[in-house]
Structures are given as C-alpha cells and as structure tokens.
C-alpha cells in the first residue's frame, strides 16, 4: 500500500516535473508532442476534478441537511438550484432565438431541444433558452449584487482605516488620495493637474512594489516546485499516513 500511496505519486511527480522542465529547453518535435500530450492529460484531469467538486458540494450539503445544522435551509436552495440548472442545461440546446408567433410554444420548445439554433429573422421574437434565461436573470443579478456590496464595505473601511496614524500610513494615504484625485473624472481641471502625478505613482512606486511581489511569488513557486519534484513537499497527497 505504501507504494501506491507514497512512492508512486512521488515518482510520478518527479518524472512529470523533470520531463516538463527539460522539454522547455528543447526545440524538437518530440518536445512539442510531449507538451501536447501532457496538456491533454491536464485538461482531462481538470474535467474529472469538476465532477469531484460537484460530488463534494452535494455531499457537504447533504450532511448539513441530515444533521439539520443551523442554516440547513440554504442547502435545499443549493439542491434546487443545481437540479434546475442541470436539467435546463441537459434538456435544452443552447439556442437564444426562435419565432414564437411563427412556431408556437410547442415549435419553440422543439427548436430549442431538438433542432438547434434557428437563424434569427427580421421581427423575430427573442425566446431565451431556459438555461441562459436563468443565468442572465438569477446568476447575473445575484453576482452583481454581491459585487455591489463591496462599495459599501470599502467606503466604510476607508472611513475607519484610512487614517494618518503612523508615518507609513500617512504616505499610503497621500499616495492613494493623489491617485484618486487624478483618476476620478469629475472636474477637468483636477484631472489635468493630478493625472501626471497619478500616472507617475502607478508607473513607478506601484510598479516597483508589484514587481517585487511578483518576483517573490515566482521564487516561492520555483522553490515549491523543486520540493514537490524531489519529494520533499508531500502535503499535496493529502493528510493521513
């Protein structure tokens, strides 16, 4: 069992890591083919992982329902939403237009489920496919609402946290105000005066800091990759023995 649980994944990670590393420096056709093969496998694994994700989501909410944990009602919403979207996706083809007057309700249903997309014509009545209709009217509205809430939280946080308490905080505050004044398009004269300052801050101190962060991240990624390739880092195999 140790072989399958430990040695095999470590060997696999080592072979894949080393092959892909050396492939990068080789211009040969074989290296190109290897890349194609590996990226194909990556796509397949990603697709399979999405099924695992769905199973995990449903199992998690099933447990909540079974144990009647506080807020278990939301788990019903998850199940209803999942079932409705899955059925809408499987039953209806992804068409967006049909002619209600010409085809009637049954005709529209048939076109959406069996015959693919009819070409839109002049004066056509737009019938949105159920899957797309739910997406545009539920998902989009709910997503936009969640994002819009950020405006309230950020304003509140700016009011409370954006204070010149220390020297560093003062520098940050002044920089942020200059960038905002240079970018908020309310008065031309303010933009004209502060836009170069705002651009300078974004293109120099900001960029330098961001570049430093990127270098830090990339160096950490290299270190982590080497640890995985050489079997030092094993947390990706999960917990337990």
């Amino acid at each position: 069992m140790t072989f399958w649980k430990k040695k095999f994944p470590i060997a696999l990670a080592f072979i894949c890591g080393v092959v892909m590393f050396f492939r990068f420096f080789s211009p040969s056709h074989l290296a190109d083919q290897t890349l194609t093969e590996f990226s194909d496998w990556d796509i397949i694994i990603s697709a399979v992982a999405s099924f695992l994700g769905i199973f995990s989501l449903l199992h998690n909410h099933y447990t909540k329902l079974r144990r009647k944990v506080p807020g278990w009602g939301y788990s019903i919403v998850v199940y209803v939403g999942f079932t409705v979207m899955a059925l809408a996706g499987f039953l209806f083809k992804v068409d967006t237009k049909a002619n209600l007057y010409k085809d009637g309700l049954v005709g529209v249903f048939m076109r959406m489920t069996l015959h693919g997309s009819p070409p839109p014509t002049e004066g056509v009545t737009t019938i949105v496919n159920p899957f797309n209709w739910i997406f545009m009217n539920f998902m989009v509205s709910l997503g936009a609402t969640m994002f819009a809430l950020l405006a309230f939280y950020i304003a509140s946080a700016a009011f409370r946290a954006f204070r010149a308490k220390t020297r560093e905080a003062t520098v940050l505050l002044i920089a942020a105000l200059l960038v905002m004044v240079g970018r908020v398009p309310l008065w031309d004269f303010l933009n004209t005066a502060f836009s170069p300052v705002s651009s300078w801050i974004m293109n120099n101190p900001n960029m330098a800091a961001q570049r430093g962060i990127i270098f830090g991240i990339v160096l950490s990624q290299i270190a982590l990759s080497l640890r995985i390739i050489f079997g030092i880092e094993r947390t990706y195999m999960g917990g337990g023995d």
């Binding site: 190109d32 990226s39 796509i43 709910l142 304003a155 509140s156 700016a158 009011f159 204070r163 004044v181």
Partner: protein, 283 residues
C-alpha cells in the same frame, strides 16, 4: 464625547446611506463626466486600429457575473469597435472568443447576441465573422493546447458546430495564427495568457481587468508584455470614448465618480479631524 470624537466614530450605517445616495442620485440627475483617456487604455485601442486587414483577434472572457459591471462593458466596447471597423472601413476583422471560467459562457453569448442585434447578421455572422468556443476546463493547459492545435482542443464551438466546418477556422489552426489577443480577466488569468500563450506562441496581447486588480498589472504593461491595460469601469468608459461607442460604462462612471469624489473629501476631512483630535490629546 466631543462632536469631533462622535464624527470619528460615526455609525457605519450613515456611511452606507452616503454611498447609497451617491449611487442613486446620478441615476436620476444626469451630468457630464470628463473621461480622460489614459495611455494604458489607448494601447489596446491603437493596436486593434492598426491590425492588418482580415486579422483574427482572440478574446478571452475570463470573468463571471460578479465582475460583469466592469468587464462586460469592456467586452461590448471592444466588439463594437471591431465590427464598426469592419462596417465602415471594410477591415474584415474576425473574433474568436473563449472563456476559462465556467460561469463565463452566458456573458459571451449575450455579448455576441448584442452585436448581432446591433450590426445585423450580414455583418456579424457566427462561424464567419466570429466564433465562441465557450468554456474549456483546464486553465493554463487549455492555453497551451490552443497553441498546439485549436481544433483538437475545441472540436466544436459553444453551439455544437464543428470548428473544422466553420469558415473562420479555415486558416486558423492554433492561437499562433491570431494577430492580437485581449484578455478580460477578473482573476489571475492575465499571467496565464502571458506565460503560456502570448510569449511562447508569439502574439501580442492587451488586458482588461477589474479596477481593484489593475495596479498589479503595471509591471506587465511597462515591460510591454501587454500593449495596453484597461482598469475597471473607467477603462471601459475610456474605450467607449475612444471608439465612440454609446455603452453603459460612461453613464456608470457618473455614480462611480461622484462616490469616489465624496470619499476623497470624507477621507481628507476625517484625517484633518483626526490630527486635530490627536494634537489636543498631546500624542
């Protein structure tokens, strides 16, 4: 507790009310917002303007409904610009779109439907002038795969039509053949497209990102790894102004501009009060 101290500890609900007023008022009262075009946004616009006749542009719509208010107007403005060039100047530009986000396809379909409605299907014809590949799972592996063999990674488009049968893919075997790419991203996919797409396969790219993440992409812009960078709703509004598009970004900027302006004033006032209060306390 003094008035200043009370003001410094203002209940957050008053701030929420202020935000709500700043957003609602510009919807009722319209006023002009002076959109100044930045070189970052112009970089994307200029590149599209300069593309040779019959070029193919790749769009990656890597965002979901939560970032739609910022990135969807960008998508529409870019598509509008491309198809206007085709209509007015006979440029014959083609668009191939894809998304690496599972919640992205609906927005892509909607954007192309809007273009069909505006320009008519004679000018914006699916399979000939544009193609939408939908969502392909796999992240960076998809980008690599599209650079190796597009038709193998995406045998059909979003609507199930085989890509091998679509005229747009006649001379487009991989993303090595695209003349330009615009990545519209709500996450970290700009790096993915630069690392695994633009650099190895040698096509130039531009990016449109949410305002909150725009600052992080300046290193890529300054090193010319991306020709341009559109940040948030303002980036979309700038593009609308450049391309002369009547979209939702410029009207949306009214609310955003007013709220940002009020926030600047509030932050300045609060800090003045804070410094005064601190000096009184002898700290």
């Amino acid at each position: 507790m003094t008035f200043t101290q009370k003001l410094l500890k203002l209940d957050r609900r008053w701030i929420y009310l202020m935000v709500a007023i700043c957003i609602i008022v510009p919807v009722i009262v319209t006023f002009r917002v002076p959109i100044q075009v930045t070189p970052e946004t112009k970089g994307v616009y200029d590149k599209i303007e300069s593309l040779p006749k019959d070029s193919t542009i790749l769009l990656s719509l890597d965002y979901d409904p939560s970032s739609m208010p910022e990135l969807y107007p960008m998508t529409l403005a870019i598509l509008d610009h491309i198809f206007t060039l085709n209509r007015d100047k006979g440029r014959g530009l083609k668009v191939v779109a894809v998304t690496l986000w599972p919640t992205g396809p609906g927005l892509g379909v909607s954007a192309f439907a809007a273009m069909e409605d505006k320009f008519g299907t004679n000018l914006v014809k699916r399979g000939r002038d544009y193609a939408f590949l939908g969502y392909i799972p796999g992240g960076y592996a998809v980008v690599i795969g599209l650079g190796q063999d597009l038709k193998r990674i995406s045998p059909t488009d979003y609507w199930g039509t085989p890509t091998s049968q679509e005229p747009i893919f006649e001379h487009l075997n991989s993303i090595r053949d695209v003349a330009y790419m615009v990545e519209l991203a709500a996450g970290a996919t700009v790096e993915t497209w630069i690392t695994y797409g633009s650099k190895p396969y040698g096509f130039p790219m531009g990016a449109g990102v949410t305002a909150v993440s725009a600052a992080g992409y300046y290193p890529y812009y300054n090193s010319k790894q991306i020709t341009g960078l559109m940040g948030g709703l303002k980036g979309a509004a700038e593009y609308e102004k450049l391309a002369n598009v009547q979209g939702n970004a410029v009207p949306g900027m009214r609310a955003q501009a007013l709220l940002h302006f009020v926030l600047v004033i509030v932050v300045i006032v609060v800090n003045v009060l804070f410094i005064v209060e601190r000096s009184k306390g002898g700290k």
